[in-house]
Assembly symmetry: C2
Homo-oligomer: 199 residues x 2
Protein backbone atom coordinates (compact mmCIF):
# COMPACT_ATOMS: atom_id res chain seq x y z
CA UNK A 1 0.00 0.00 0.00
CA UNK A 2 1.07 3.56 -0.71
CA UNK A 3 1.17 4.73 2.89
CA UNK A 4 3.91 2.22 3.68
CA UNK A 5 6.19 4.22 1.41
CA UNK A 6 6.40 6.99 4.03
CA UNK A 7 8.77 6.10 6.86
CA UNK A 8 7.79 6.30 10.51
CA UNK A 9 10.22 9.14 11.22
CA UNK A 10 8.99 11.17 8.27
CA UNK A 11 5.42 10.79 9.50
CA UNK A 12 6.50 11.78 13.01
CA UNK A 13 8.17 14.91 11.64
CA UNK A 14 5.04 15.77 9.70
CA UNK A 15 2.86 15.41 12.78
CA UNK A 16 5.19 17.38 15.03
CA UNK A 17 5.44 20.14 12.43
CA UNK A 18 1.65 20.26 12.07
CA UNK A 19 1.26 20.85 15.80
CA UNK A 20 3.90 23.58 15.91
CA UNK A 21 2.93 25.39 12.71
CA UNK A 22 -0.70 25.49 13.90
CA UNK A 23 0.34 27.30 17.09
CA UNK A 24 3.38 29.39 16.17
CA UNK A 25 3.06 29.78 12.40
CA UNK A 26 5.79 29.24 9.83
CA UNK A 27 8.26 31.84 11.06
CA UNK A 28 7.61 31.05 14.72
CA UNK A 29 8.41 27.37 14.26
CA UNK A 30 12.10 26.47 14.03
CA UNK A 31 13.50 23.27 12.56
CA UNK A 32 15.15 22.81 15.94
CA UNK A 33 11.81 22.70 17.74
CA UNK A 34 10.31 20.28 15.23
CA UNK A 35 13.28 17.92 15.59
CA UNK A 36 13.16 18.26 19.36
CA UNK A 37 9.46 17.35 19.42
CA UNK A 38 10.20 14.27 17.32
CA UNK A 39 13.14 13.33 19.51
CA UNK A 40 15.91 13.63 16.95
CA UNK A 41 18.56 16.19 16.02
CA UNK A 42 18.06 18.87 13.41
CA UNK A 43 20.59 17.29 11.07
CA UNK A 44 18.73 13.97 11.13
CA UNK A 45 15.62 15.79 10.00
CA UNK A 46 17.34 16.82 6.78
CA UNK A 47 17.54 13.14 5.78
CA UNK A 48 13.75 13.21 5.38
CA UNK A 49 13.06 16.72 4.09
CA UNK A 50 15.07 18.97 1.85
CA UNK A 51 14.44 22.04 4.00
CA UNK A 52 11.94 23.78 6.27
CA UNK A 53 9.72 24.84 3.39
CA UNK A 54 9.42 21.23 2.20
CA UNK A 55 8.10 20.26 5.63
CA UNK A 56 5.60 23.09 5.51
CA UNK A 57 4.39 22.13 2.04
CA UNK A 58 3.94 18.51 3.11
CA UNK A 59 1.95 19.60 6.14
CA UNK A 60 -0.21 21.92 4.03
CA UNK A 61 -0.68 19.37 1.24
CA UNK A 62 -4.30 18.55 2.04
CA UNK A 63 -5.23 21.86 3.62
CA UNK A 64 -7.85 22.54 0.98
CA UNK A 65 -9.38 19.10 0.58
CA UNK A 66 -13.10 19.61 0.83
CA UNK A 67 -16.06 17.36 1.63
CA UNK A 68 -18.19 19.36 -0.79
CA UNK A 69 -18.46 17.69 -4.16
CA UNK A 70 -20.28 18.96 -7.25
CA UNK A 71 -21.47 15.42 -7.97
CA UNK A 72 -25.22 15.17 -8.50
CA UNK A 73 -25.54 18.85 -7.68
CA UNK A 74 -28.51 19.10 -10.07
CA UNK A 75 -30.38 16.39 -8.18
CA UNK A 76 -29.20 17.30 -4.69
CA UNK A 77 -30.09 20.99 -5.03
CA UNK A 78 -33.73 20.08 -5.71
CA UNK A 79 -33.96 19.03 -2.08
CA UNK A 80 -33.89 22.73 -1.20
CA UNK A 81 -33.42 23.37 2.50
CA UNK A 82 -32.37 19.78 3.01
CA UNK A 83 -29.41 20.38 0.68
CA UNK A 84 -28.35 23.48 2.62
CA UNK A 85 -28.72 21.64 5.92
CA UNK A 86 -26.49 18.85 4.60
CA UNK A 87 -23.92 21.38 3.47
CA UNK A 88 -23.85 23.01 6.88
CA UNK A 89 -23.58 19.67 8.67
CA UNK A 90 -20.46 18.95 6.64
CA UNK A 91 -19.12 22.44 7.28
CA UNK A 92 -19.74 22.04 11.00
CA UNK A 93 -18.07 18.64 11.14
CA UNK A 94 -15.00 20.08 9.46
CA UNK A 95 -15.03 23.03 11.88
CA UNK A 96 -14.90 20.73 14.88
CA UNK A 97 -12.49 18.14 13.45
CA UNK A 98 -9.21 18.30 15.39
CA UNK A 99 -6.96 17.73 12.39
CA UNK A 100 -8.84 20.10 10.08
CA UNK A 101 -8.79 22.70 12.83
CA UNK A 102 -5.00 22.68 12.92
CA UNK A 103 -4.85 23.13 9.16
CA UNK A 104 -7.39 25.93 9.40
CA UNK A 105 -5.21 27.66 11.99
CA UNK A 106 -2.17 27.45 9.73
CA UNK A 107 -4.25 28.81 6.88
CA UNK A 108 -5.46 31.78 8.90
CA UNK A 109 -1.97 32.60 10.22
CA UNK A 110 -0.33 32.48 6.79
CA UNK A 111 -3.26 33.78 4.72
CA UNK A 112 -1.96 37.35 4.58
CA UNK A 113 1.71 36.44 4.34
CA UNK A 114 1.89 33.50 1.92
CA UNK A 115 0.73 34.38 -1.60
CA UNK A 116 0.43 30.78 -2.80
CA UNK A 117 -1.67 29.82 0.18
CA UNK A 118 -3.78 32.94 -0.24
CA UNK A 119 -4.52 32.16 -3.87
CA UNK A 120 -5.34 28.56 -3.00
CA UNK A 121 -7.71 29.84 -0.34
CA UNK A 122 -9.50 32.09 -2.81
CA UNK A 123 -9.65 29.45 -5.54
CA UNK A 124 -10.00 26.12 -3.76
CA UNK A 125 -11.79 27.23 -0.64
CA UNK A 126 -13.84 30.30 -1.41
CA UNK A 127 -14.49 30.05 -5.13
CA UNK A 128 -15.09 26.30 -5.03
CA UNK A 129 -17.82 26.68 -2.44
CA UNK A 130 -19.31 29.77 -4.07
CA UNK A 131 -19.67 28.12 -7.49
CA UNK A 132 -21.09 24.98 -5.92
CA UNK A 133 -23.64 26.94 -3.92
CA UNK A 134 -24.39 29.20 -6.90
CA UNK A 135 -25.28 26.19 -9.01
CA UNK A 136 -27.46 24.84 -6.23
CA UNK A 137 -29.31 28.13 -5.79
CA UNK A 138 -29.78 28.38 -9.54
CA UNK A 139 -31.43 24.97 -9.58
CA UNK A 140 -33.61 25.92 -6.62
CA UNK A 141 -34.73 29.07 -8.43
CA UNK A 142 -35.61 27.11 -11.55
CA UNK A 143 -37.48 24.59 -9.44
CA UNK A 144 -39.48 27.41 -7.91
CA UNK A 145 -38.24 26.60 -4.41
CA UNK A 146 -36.68 29.98 -3.73
CA UNK A 147 -37.23 33.49 -5.02
CA UNK A 148 -35.37 34.61 -8.11
CA UNK A 149 -32.22 36.60 -7.46
CA UNK A 150 -28.44 36.62 -8.12
CA UNK A 151 -27.33 33.05 -7.26
CA UNK A 152 -23.70 34.04 -6.69
CA UNK A 153 -24.59 36.80 -4.27
CA UNK A 154 -26.88 34.40 -2.44
CA UNK A 155 -23.99 31.96 -2.22
CA UNK A 156 -21.83 34.66 -0.62
CA UNK A 157 -24.50 35.52 1.90
CA UNK A 158 -24.96 31.87 2.77
CA UNK A 159 -21.24 31.05 3.05
CA UNK A 160 -19.97 34.16 4.87
CA UNK A 161 -21.60 33.49 8.27
CA UNK A 162 -20.35 29.88 8.20
CA UNK A 163 -16.80 31.12 7.81
CA UNK A 164 -17.22 33.71 10.55
CA UNK A 165 -18.65 31.15 12.96
CA UNK A 166 -15.84 28.75 12.18
CA UNK A 167 -13.27 31.46 12.85
CA UNK A 168 -14.90 32.25 16.17
CA UNK A 169 -14.88 28.58 17.14
CA UNK A 170 -11.18 28.38 16.28
CA UNK A 171 -10.37 31.48 18.36
CA UNK A 172 -12.36 30.20 21.31
CA UNK A 173 -10.68 26.81 21.20
CA UNK A 174 -7.19 28.32 21.19
CA UNK A 175 -7.96 29.78 24.60
CA UNK A 176 -9.81 26.62 25.67
CA UNK A 177 -13.10 28.50 26.01
CA UNK A 178 -16.39 26.61 25.58
CA UNK A 179 -17.90 26.64 22.10
CA UNK A 180 -21.33 25.24 22.91
CA UNK A 181 -23.05 28.60 22.33
CA UNK A 182 -21.38 28.89 18.93
CA UNK A 183 -22.25 25.32 18.00
CA UNK A 184 -25.95 26.06 17.54
CA UNK A 185 -25.34 29.02 15.21
CA UNK A 186 -24.90 26.75 12.20
CA UNK A 187 -28.38 25.23 12.35
CA UNK A 188 -29.94 28.58 13.20
CA UNK A 189 -28.21 30.04 10.16
CA UNK A 190 -29.86 27.50 7.84
CA UNK A 191 -33.28 28.24 9.29
CA UNK A 192 -32.80 32.00 9.13
CA UNK A 193 -31.40 31.91 5.62
CA UNK A 194 -34.05 29.58 4.28
CA UNK A 195 -36.83 31.77 5.63
CA UNK A 196 -35.32 34.72 3.81
CA UNK A 197 -35.09 33.09 0.37
CA UNK A 198 -38.15 30.80 0.31
CA UNK A 199 -40.94 31.86 -2.05
Amino acid sequence: MASARVSKTKTAIRNAALELFAVYGYKGTSVRKIASKVGIRESALYNHFKNKEAIFLTVCADIFTTPFSKKNIQEEAKKGKKFLANFVVQYKLVSFDANKEKLFRIMMIELLQDQTLRQNFLNEFHHHNITLLSEAFFVMMQSGLIRSSDPMFMANEFLAPLFYYRLQITLFRIDAEPTTALSTLFEKHVDFFWESVIV
Copy 2:
Protein backbone atom coordinates in the same frame (compact mmCIF):
# COMPACT_ATOMS: atom_id res chain seq x y z
CA MET B 1 -0.89 70.54 21.48
CA ALA B 2 -0.40 66.95 22.55
CA SER B 3 0.90 65.68 19.21
CA ALA B 4 3.94 67.96 19.49
CA ARG B 5 5.08 65.80 22.40
CA VAL B 6 5.95 62.98 20.00
CA SER B 7 9.22 63.60 18.19
CA LYS B 8 9.56 63.42 14.42
CA THR B 9 11.83 60.39 14.57
CA LYS B 10 9.50 58.52 16.89
CA THR B 11 6.63 59.15 14.49
CA ALA B 12 8.78 58.03 11.57
CA ILE B 13 9.60 54.80 13.41
CA ARG B 14 5.92 54.24 14.12
CA ASN B 15 4.98 54.71 10.47
CA ALA B 16 7.78 52.52 9.16
CA ALA B 17 6.88 49.81 11.66
CA LEU B 18 3.20 50.00 10.66
CA GLU B 19 4.09 49.38 7.02
CA LEU B 20 6.36 46.45 7.80
CA PHE B 21 4.18 44.77 10.45
CA ALA B 22 1.22 44.96 8.05
CA VAL B 23 3.14 43.00 5.42
CA TYR B 24 5.48 40.69 7.30
CA GLY B 25 3.83 40.40 10.71
CA TYR B 26 5.54 40.75 14.08
CA LYS B 27 8.05 37.93 13.76
CA GLY B 28 8.79 38.72 10.12
CA THR B 29 9.69 42.32 10.89
CA SER B 30 13.13 42.88 12.41
CA VAL B 31 14.19 45.97 14.33
CA ARG B 32 16.97 46.28 11.77
CA LYS B 33 14.49 46.60 8.91
CA ILE B 34 12.41 49.19 10.74
CA ALA B 35 15.50 51.30 11.47
CA SER B 36 16.68 50.90 7.89
CA LYS B 37 13.32 52.11 6.55
CA VAL B 38 13.52 55.16 8.81
CA GLY B 39 17.11 55.82 7.80
CA ILE B 40 18.77 55.36 11.16
CA ARG B 41 20.71 52.60 12.93
CA GLU B 42 19.15 50.02 15.18
CA SER B 43 20.82 51.45 18.26
CA ALA B 44 19.36 54.90 17.60
CA LEU B 45 15.91 53.34 17.54
CA TYR B 46 16.29 52.23 21.14
CA ASN B 47 16.46 55.89 22.20
CA HIS B 48 12.77 56.12 21.26
CA PHE B 49 11.40 52.73 22.17
CA LYS B 50 12.31 50.34 24.95
CA ASN B 51 12.19 47.29 22.65
CA LYS B 52 10.49 45.74 19.63
CA GLU B 53 7.33 44.92 21.54
CA ALA B 54 6.93 48.55 22.60
CA ILE B 55 6.98 49.58 18.95
CA PHE B 56 4.37 46.97 18.14
CA LEU B 57 2.10 48.08 20.98
CA THR B 58 2.35 51.71 19.88
CA VAL B 59 1.46 50.73 16.32
CA CYS B 60 -1.48 48.63 17.52
CA ALA B 61 -2.68 51.27 20.00
CA ASP B 62 -5.72 52.37 17.99
CA ILE B 63 -6.29 49.11 16.15
CA PHE B 64 -9.74 48.70 17.70
CA THR B 65 -11.02 52.25 17.58
CA THR B 66 -14.46 52.03 16.05
CA PRO B 67 -16.75 54.51 14.27
CA PHE B 68 -19.76 52.74 15.76
CA SER B 69 -21.04 54.47 18.87
CA LYS B 70 -23.93 53.40 21.10
CA LYS B 71 -25.00 57.02 21.41
CA ASN B 72 -28.66 57.61 20.58
CA ILE B 73 -28.98 53.95 19.64
CA GLN B 74 -32.61 53.99 20.84
CA GLU B 75 -33.48 56.81 18.47
CA GLU B 76 -31.22 55.76 15.59
CA ALA B 77 -32.47 52.18 15.53
CA LYS B 78 -36.04 53.36 14.92
CA LYS B 79 -34.88 54.38 11.45
CA GLY B 80 -34.83 50.68 10.59
CA LYS B 81 -33.16 49.94 7.28
CA LYS B 82 -31.67 53.43 7.21
CA PHE B 83 -29.79 52.63 10.44
CA LEU B 84 -28.39 49.43 8.95
CA ALA B 85 -27.41 51.24 5.76
CA ASN B 86 -25.57 53.87 7.80
CA PHE B 87 -23.79 51.15 9.75
CA VAL B 88 -22.65 49.46 6.55
CA VAL B 89 -21.49 52.73 5.00
CA GLN B 90 -19.24 53.25 8.02
CA TYR B 91 -18.05 49.64 7.84
CA LYS B 92 -17.29 50.02 4.15
CA LEU B 93 -15.39 53.28 4.65
CA VAL B 94 -13.24 51.61 7.28
CA SER B 95 -12.66 48.63 4.96
CA PHE B 96 -11.30 50.86 2.21
CA ASP B 97 -9.33 53.26 4.45
CA ALA B 98 -5.61 52.80 3.78
CA ASN B 99 -4.51 53.23 7.39
CA LYS B 100 -7.28 51.07 8.85
CA GLU B 101 -6.48 48.43 6.26
CA LYS B 102 -2.91 48.14 7.51
CA LEU B 103 -4.12 47.74 11.07
CA PHE B 104 -6.65 45.14 9.92
CA ARG B 105 -3.85 43.21 8.23
CA ILE B 106 -1.79 43.20 11.41
CA MET B 107 -4.85 42.08 13.33
CA MET B 108 -5.51 39.18 10.97
CA ILE B 109 -1.87 38.05 10.96
CA GLU B 110 -1.52 38.08 14.73
CA LEU B 111 -5.09 37.06 15.62
CA LEU B 112 -4.24 33.40 16.16
CA GLN B 113 -0.81 34.01 17.70
CA ASP B 114 -1.26 36.94 20.07
CA GLN B 115 -3.64 36.22 22.95
CA THR B 116 -4.05 39.85 24.01
CA LEU B 117 -4.87 40.94 20.48
CA ARG B 118 -7.25 38.01 20.11
CA GLN B 119 -9.15 38.90 23.26
CA ASN B 120 -9.32 42.54 22.20
CA PHE B 121 -10.70 41.42 18.87
CA LEU B 122 -13.41 39.36 20.51
CA ASN B 123 -14.29 42.05 23.06
CA GLU B 124 -13.71 45.38 21.33
CA PHE B 125 -14.38 44.38 17.77
CA HIS B 126 -16.81 41.49 17.71
CA HIS B 127 -18.70 41.85 20.97
CA HIS B 128 -18.95 45.64 20.73
CA ASN B 129 -20.59 45.45 17.33
CA ILE B 130 -22.80 42.52 18.30
CA THR B 131 -24.20 44.24 21.38
CA LEU B 132 -24.73 47.47 19.47
CA LEU B 133 -26.56 45.69 16.67
CA SER B 134 -28.49 43.54 19.15
CA GLU B 135 -29.84 46.64 20.85
CA ALA B 136 -30.76 48.13 17.51
CA PHE B 137 -32.61 44.99 16.41
CA PHE B 138 -34.37 44.83 19.76
CA VAL B 139 -35.65 48.38 19.25
CA MET B 140 -36.71 47.55 15.70
CA MET B 141 -38.66 44.54 16.96
CA GLN B 142 -40.41 46.61 19.61
CA SER B 143 -41.21 49.26 17.01
CA GLY B 144 -42.77 46.59 14.83
CA LEU B 145 -40.33 47.24 12.01
CA ILE B 146 -38.91 43.73 11.86
CA ARG B 147 -40.15 40.29 12.81
CA SER B 148 -39.60 39.08 16.37
CA SER B 149 -36.60 36.82 16.82
CA ASP B 150 -33.32 36.51 18.76
CA PRO B 151 -31.68 39.97 18.42
CA MET B 152 -28.18 38.67 19.14
CA PHE B 153 -28.40 35.94 16.52
CA MET B 154 -29.69 38.50 14.04
CA ALA B 155 -26.71 40.71 14.88
CA ASN B 156 -24.36 37.81 14.10
CA GLU B 157 -26.05 37.12 10.79
CA PHE B 158 -25.85 40.78 9.87
CA LEU B 159 -22.22 41.30 10.92
CA ALA B 160 -20.66 38.06 9.62
CA PRO B 161 -20.93 38.82 5.88
CA LEU B 162 -19.49 42.31 6.43
CA PHE B 163 -16.41 40.79 8.03
CA TYR B 164 -16.07 38.19 5.28
CA TYR B 165 -16.34 40.83 2.56
CA ARG B 166 -13.79 43.00 4.32
CA LEU B 167 -11.37 40.07 4.55
CA GLN B 168 -11.80 39.38 0.85
CA ILE B 169 -11.13 43.02 0.02
CA THR B 170 -7.98 42.91 2.10
CA LEU B 171 -6.75 39.73 0.41
CA PHE B 172 -7.47 41.13 -3.05
CA ARG B 173 -5.65 44.37 -2.30
CA ILE B 174 -2.53 42.57 -1.09
CA ASP B 175 -2.16 41.13 -4.57
CA ALA B 176 -3.27 44.41 -6.17
CA GLU B 177 -6.36 42.79 -7.68
CA PRO B 178 -9.41 44.96 -8.40
CA THR B 179 -12.06 45.10 -5.67
CA THR B 180 -14.85 46.75 -7.63
CA ALA B 181 -16.94 43.57 -7.73
CA LEU B 182 -16.61 43.21 -3.97
CA SER B 183 -17.45 46.84 -3.36
CA THR B 184 -21.12 46.43 -4.22
CA LEU B 185 -21.61 43.47 -1.87
CA PHE B 186 -22.07 45.75 1.13
CA GLU B 187 -25.14 47.54 -0.21
CA LYS B 188 -26.59 44.33 -1.58
CA HIS B 189 -26.16 42.76 1.84
CA VAL B 190 -28.28 45.46 3.47
CA ASP B 191 -31.05 44.98 0.89
CA PHE B 192 -30.94 41.20 1.16
CA PHE B 193 -30.87 41.22 4.94
CA TRP B 194 -33.64 43.81 5.31
CA GLU B 195 -35.92 41.82 3.01
CA SER B 196 -35.39 38.78 5.22
CA VAL B 197 -36.26 40.44 8.54
CA ILE B 198 -38.92 42.96 7.54
CA VAL B 199 -42.44 42.19 8.77
